[in-house]
């Protein structure tokens, strides 16, 4: 099974959210988060419950999500990572901090508190409602600013130029140090620390091991990911279902239902000699980055992989498919097949007379000089090749991407 689930039935979807909400509210209540004095105690060092529960929650979910992603069960690209609008976020956060220390709650806890009969919780919740409405009324005054410093989907590990696994391990270690500090502060300022029950200690210990283990032993390689999907995908390669004719690629560029991303996985030298216009050169090592970028994009995207023949492109196809990129195709016969058809448009391109067995992945054409994409053969127009359009069997079948789930910001 692939997570997150795609739930189409609206009733089921909202019922699940409702049940998750019940568990959320119950856990907050059981942690004492319905009591304002307990929450505010965080900021006078004597009661560190807020820090412990919150960071306990963050690291538990973080490690579980990370492991499920690493195991290939959960698609990180499909879960909602709050987009970063840096300055509106920081200013809003500071304002929230002020509201927290004056009123003693955050929005979620105040509604839970109200549900447990607390009048201060009820009034805070009423205040939150008023504040939210006030924001809606005043947002047009600073509408432009509210959309500035937009970094989109930005993760901590991208900011610090490290890997997901290393970042998880760092956050885990920092959190455990903070717990240790919190116990110290409680003893120093409140006279009494909460301590930790033994089984929770083991649970955190296990999570710390899990967080550190993966970066040490390595995340699953693309080969391992491919091995998981191979039984399903290998037959498609055998049946050549994903090899598209050059004319289909020519046409795809003009298809308005989707955008076409052409990735050329050949050497830079071959790419400079000649490439299809709009093709991006992609090293095999860069394919995971491409996969991320393509999946992040909300537009319906068809990816076509190109090499001189099609063996290298097939290897690249396996990588992208292993990384869950939808709608990936291979140019059948590669650039050589492309030039067999379109080289006639440019007198500077000559077929090479290669004697003997031609080894794979070699460019079989010669050029007067490096043409790059400055050639009519690099961007043929379908109108001038109507004869071709009847010749091929169209193979592109659009598979709708799931797209990342929505966030709590609506």
């Amino acid at each position: 099974m692939h997570f997150p689930l795609t739930i189409d039935a609206v009733v089921v979807k909202y019922l699940i959210h409702f049940l998750i909400g019940i568990a959320f509210g119950a856990v907050l209540e059981m942690s004492g988060f319905a009591i304002s004095t307990r929450l505010a105690g965080q900021f006078y060092f004597k009661d560190q419950t807020v820090l412990k529960v919150m960071f306990g929650g963050v690291i538990t979910a973080m490690v579980l999500i990370f492991w499920f992603v690493a195991m290939g069960w959960l698609d990180y690209d499909l879960i909602w990572v709050n987009p970063t609008y840096l300055w509106p976020g920081i200013v809003g956060g500071l304002i929230m901090g002020v509201g927290f220390i004056i009123g003693g709650f955050c929005p979620g806890t105040s509604f839970v508190s109200a549900a447990t009969g607390k009048i201060d919780g009820l009034l805070f919740a009423a205040g939150v409602t008023a504040g939210v409405l006030l924001f809606g009324e005043t947002e047009p005054l600073f509408h432009t600013w509210w959309y500035t410093s937009d970094y989109g989907r930005l993760t901590l590990f991208e900011v610090f130029h490290t890997s997901y696994g290393v970042m998880v391990a760092i956050v885990m270690i920092v959190a455990l140090l903070m717990f240790w500090g919190a116990e110290y502060l409680e003893r120093a300022f409140g006279g009494r620390a909460s301590g930790i029950v033994p089984w929770a200690k083991y649970a955190f210990g296990l999570m710390a091991l899990a967080a550190v283990a993966l970066p040490l032993f390595g995340e699953p390689t693309v080969d391992e990911l491919w091995a998981r999907v191979a039984p399903e995908m290998e037959p498609k390669l055998q049946a050549r279902e994903v090899y598209i004719h050059p004319a289909e690629l020519m046409e795809a560029r003009y298809d308005e239902r989707f955008r076409t991303v052409v990735l050329d996985v050949r050497s830079e030298a071959d790419y400079n000699l000649f490439h299809i216009r709009w093709a991006h050169r992609a090293d095999m090592d860069d394919l995971p980055t491409w996969a991320q970028r393509i999946k992040k994009d909300e537009r319906l995207t068809v990816v076509v992989l190109v090499s001189n023949d099609d063996q290298a492109a097939t290897e690249a196809w396996k990588t992208l498919v292993a990384l869950d990129v939808p709608n990936v195709y291979i140019l059948d016969g590669g650039i050589n097949h492309w030039l067999d058809i379109f080289a006639a448009e440019d007198t500077r391109i000559h077929p090479m007379s290669l004697t003997g067995g031609v080894e794979g992945e070699r460019l079989r054409y010669d050029f007067d000089y490096a043409l790059g994409e400055a050639s009519p053969a690099a961007d043929p127009v379908p109108d001038q090749h109507e004869e071709l359009l009847e010749e091929f069997q169209p193979k592109i079948k659009l598979e709708l991407p799931a797209g990342p789930a929505g966030g709590g910001c609506g």
């Binding site: 220390i101 447990t116 939210v132 649970a203």
Partner: protein, 184 residues
């Protein structure tokens, strides 16, 4: 009838409220709920988003034209759009149900006002409302509150969410000294 009931109530002593969870156990459970939410739905938890949509729903009932003319509001409730058909609304209502049931089961449901020893109940009420107002405003400005940003965004390592989390703690700690008489 009512005499009978009160006699019964006197006969049965009110059960003592049960103690709260060890905070680390609370954290583990909270993390588990958050993880399940991401696993099943792809989204985390949230509170202020639900408040927002319920508030806008009523605003739309009263002043529909006004909502349609404000792009920020129209995005949620313009024309025939129903602002309540959003997952955040269901999580918020669920959280209140969960809080209520848990408080009842643990004998912690009680009409009360919690405050520092040096302020009056009335002052506490005013501060609660004002604090809530400021919190609600900030939560929308940051596109999510402690639940939607700090907790959920924190767990999936969103850079912006971590900045917001630090800002919330920073803002509260910075002002805590000046409000020490309110809470201590």
């Amino acid at each position: 009838m009512s005499a009978n009931l009160s006699a019964q109530a006197q006969a049965k002593p009110k059960p003592q409220p049960k103690p709260y969870l060890n905070p680390y156990v609370g954290g583990l459970l909270l993390g588990l709920v958050l993880f399940l939410s991401f696993l099943i739905t792809g989204s985390g938890l949230g509170a202020s988003g639900g408040v927002n949509r319920i508030a806008v729903f009523f605003e739309d009932l009263i002043a529909s034209g006004h909502v349609d003319r404000n792009p920020y509001l129209a995005h949620m409730a313009g024309g025939n759009a129903n602002p309540l058909l959003n997952w955040t609304v269901f999580v918020l209502i669920g959280a209140m149900v969960g809080g209520f049931v848990s408080a009842k089961l643990h004998h912690r449901w009680e009409v009360a006002t919690y405050k520092g020893p040096r302020i009056s109940v009335r002052t506490r009420w005013v501060l609660a409302f004002v604090g809530g107002l400021i919190m609600g405003y900030g939560a929308r400005m940051a596109r999510g509150c402690t639940s939607g940003q700090a907790l959920s965004g924190g767990a999936v390592l969103s850079a912006g969410s971590w900045a917001i989390m630090l800002a919330i703690f920073g803002g509260a700690y910075a002002l805590a000294y000046f409000l020490r008489k309110v809470w201590n």
